[in-house]
Subunit: 218 residues, 2 copies
């Protein structure tokens, strides 16, 4: 039996884990749980400044929610293009990550994906703000409440950040239902960020993905 | 701005995190929250086999609980001597880790510490089983339900495993109230495991520790 050396703790290996993100999500109809109160948005969500972190846009903002019964608050919103999670084999045009934390520092990400279609008014405001070149606090906050999932399926699993340091123990809440952005909006975004920034799919390993149905009425 | 290379993802650094365990816990009376239902034990907890993992005893067993409203089940119980967390500066004789997981693979550890005093009947059964030298399934299961915290303060924070791979995102529930073991029991344990196996205290960094009071009546 290989014993740990408690006299040389600084040399212990910090392991790359087996609970990495993103993953391939598949709907399994017989395992869907009804849970209208699984995600509860408490008041408006808004973003109030934009910064370019080198890989994409990152927006700081405010918002409060109960995720699986526990209080979390929004830390930031950022974008991946194309999406990171696949849903039933489909890799969508974008994936927006609403990164939350709770009182003790746990991380939970609510991920909503976008397909090409009608222009999105919130994305329009964000792009317009970024196009001014002023990476500071907005003159007006941008409300993003309407992008949060209130109906349809939520895939829930435990994974990691999708950029270094790739830390695990992150609660994921991935919405099945997409919203739309226009091809023109995507192209404006890609003018600034021409390179893809989606991490490759990671193995599921010894994990279960839960599916919660928020119902069909807003 | 340092850009990530999405064409060389296999070289991304998996970071040693800033949410490591154990930590020094301190009671802050004005921040205690009343929460009689914070930990709900659902039926008996028992262990049914013992193995020597090189550093200590590890027992597999069964048990179900609601921890902070969500269903978890016991995976294993293992020991550290001396304790790992300090409580108001005190490092106790032992710390027992009831390691739980939930349906999606999240890890939660319920930690209960022991001070020297009256002998503990459950520890007696476990030591007696180990002293037979038979590291297999017990003839009879050992009930450990009575060791689970039902009163007093619970420190709750997000940390890591305390042995490699030191993975983070682990929910900790550390009971303030100790149980007792006898000096003779500790010495019998130390005959088998003479070396200490407590990880050094880790920095709190950007974390909050919550304190929940389960109340004073069983």
């Amino acid at each position: 039996m290989n014993k740990l050396d408690y006299q040389a703790q600084s040399q212990w290996a910090y392991g790359a884990g087996k609970q990495q993100s993103p993953i391939a999500l598949e709907t399994v109809p017989q395992n869907i749980l009804e849970a209208a109160d699984f995600l509860e948005w408490q008041g408006p969500y808004y973003v109030q400044d934009v910064c370019d972190n080198g890989n994409n846009l990152l927006l700081h903002g405010q918002g409060h929610a109960r995720l699986d019964q526990r209080l979390f608050h929004l830390v930031q919103l950022h974008f991946h293009a194309p999406a990171e999670h696949t849903i039933n084999g489909e890799l969508r045009a974008m994936e927006w990550h609403f990164v939350h934390t709770d009182a003790i520092g746990k991380t939970a990400v609510v991920a909503v994906s976008a397909v090409i279609g009608r222009p999105n008014p919130q994305f329009e405001q964000i792009l317009a703000q970024y196009e001014t070149g002023k990476l500071t606090t907005f003159a007006e906050t941008i409300l993003v409440t309407s992008l949060l999932p209130t109906t349809g399926l939520i895939y829930h699993y435990v994974g990691s950040l999708t950029t270094p340091p790739l830390i695990e123990g992150v609660e994921w809440y991935v919405a099945e239902k997409p919203f739309t952005i226009s091809q023109e909006q995507l192209e404006r975004y890609q003018q600034f960020f021409p390179k893809t920034n989606n991490r490759t799919l990671q193995p599921l390993n010894d994990r279960q993905v839960m599916q919660y149905d928020l119902g069909s009425n807003d």
